[in-house]
Amino acid sequence: MIKVENIKKSFGDEEILKGISTVFEKGKTNLIIGQSGSGKTVMLKCLLGLFKPEEGFIFYENEAIQNMDDEQQRTLREEIGMLFQGGALFDSMTIEENVMFPLRMFTKNKKSEMLERVNEVLERVNLGGVNKKYPSEISGGMQKRVSIARAIVNKPKYLFCDEPNSGLDPKTATVIDNLIQEITHEYDITTVVVTHDMNSVMEIGENIVFLKNGILVWQGNNKEIFSTDNQDVTDFVYSSDLFKKIRDIQLKEQ
């Protein structure tokens, strides 16, 4: 569980996060959604400790990240898995080396044990036979799956995903979404996904935080989001023609 209390973050004179408080629950896929420039990525980077908020606290379980010393932060980060927008795979390493990387850095396991775990997680993300390939030799969707494998290989307590579907076709995007949700339940971890993809919201939005101009304006789940009367949320949800048409059909049927 991650608890956020009144965090504020500015860059120069521009205030990006204007006092956000919320809870990201364990065992659920928590989504941060909103338009571009709403502060989603800044919030994610604050959660990860890459940005320091000027005010407020971020609690991992009951420990505020701001009060942790360097060693405690390092230990916490070993418990974090991260799926970056572009995958962020190390391009000088093979797929196997990429996935093995957290194990090599943080465990004293034998190479054979590490290889066994690597193969296990690669199988889990439905990627077999690519161990010796380099990231540039596989597709974008496969790179995302490798990135998920790398994120979970060390059995993290927290999984963060930054726009996991960007640049993917709808079918592959659904595969990635489902994989993230399955892994969240399977490992019983706290997952936070930053996205503006409505398909992801529908598929895996168990707890959704909607941001607008650095303010949390709505929180709910993927069922509630379609029935809310919050104007900002409905404007966002029905900004796509597809969702507008679905709504019109539903209204006609009623």
Partner: protein, 245 residues
């Protein structure tokens, strides 16, 4: 003001580079990889340039001292002095600023653009120690490259001088040994160590703190070459003043 901030961030980078050490077994592998990339990978171009520049120095010296009073051994002497004092340590370092420096900046810059550095940080790894420290250690072997450059340069001068008909083997080698001051070698290697540190850290700083996309990686590589060269020239002047004047 911006320059002061840059200088400050450079020294802060150095402070972080020498702290929060990466796991020893991983670091050892990284150091060997950097030695391969930065030192072994540079040898062919160093050998090629040193050989021919050594030859050119010998030929130009010969053509400029055609007075019969001046001994032919001067060709060997001038070649030795030029190569040991300036060409090998300083100009080879500037050439390496183009090859090694650009490689360092573009590789770290690409990692920044593609969020690979963020990935390291999120995992709790000190990315500066992971990326920059092995380069600094690898470039401690740079004096070996310069020693090789000196040897190949002088060999190039000898071959060009003798086979070009400008001098004889005996005259050239007599010149090589004439008034040899071993402190000149000490001076050359002291400055080589300083240049190696500049070569490892300035391009790393340029790559690590760059912002933007692929175009900015290119600009950072160019800036890296310019600043590394400027600092090498300045350091060369200061060290020469301190040690030789």
């Amino acid at each position: 003001m911006a320059y002061l901030e840059d200088i400050g961030s450079y020294f802060l980078m150095l402070k972080r580079t020498f702290g929060g050490f990466t796991k020893r077994s991983v670091l050892k592998e990284l150091i060997f990889k950097e030695i391969d990339d930065l030192i072994i990978g540079s040898l062919p171009i160093v050998i090629f340039i040193s050989f021919f520049v050594g030859g050119v120095i010998a030929i130009q010296t010969a053509l400029n001292v055609d007075n019969p009073i001046i001994p032919k051994s001067l060709i060997g002497y001038a070649t030795r002095q030029s190569i040991i004092l300036e060409f090998a340590p300083t100009f080879m370092s500037i050439i390496m600023a183009g090859k090694v420096g650009s490689f360092i900046t573009s590789s770290i810059g690409s990692m920044r653009v593609t969020e690979q550095i963020d990935a390291l940080e999120v995992m709790g790894i000190n990315s500066l120690n992971y990326l920059v420290f092995p380069k600094i250690i690898a470039l401690l072997f740079f004096p070996f490259v310069i020693a090789l450059s000196m040897f190949i340069g002088i060999t190039g001068g000898l071959l060009a001088g003798v086979y070009g008909g400008f001098t004889t083997y005996t005259d050239f080698t007599a010149g090589l040994q004439d008034s040899f001051n071993s402190f000149h070698l000490v001076y050359a290697f002291i400055k080589t160590f300083v240049f190696a540190f500049i070569l490892a850290t300035v391009p790393s700083w340029q790559g690590y703190y760059m912002k933007g996309g692929a175009l900015e990686v290119g600009k950072a590589s160019t800036n890296s070459f310019v600043w590394t060269s400027v600092l090498i020239i300045l350091a060369n002047f200061i060290i020469t003043q301190l040690l030789l004047s």
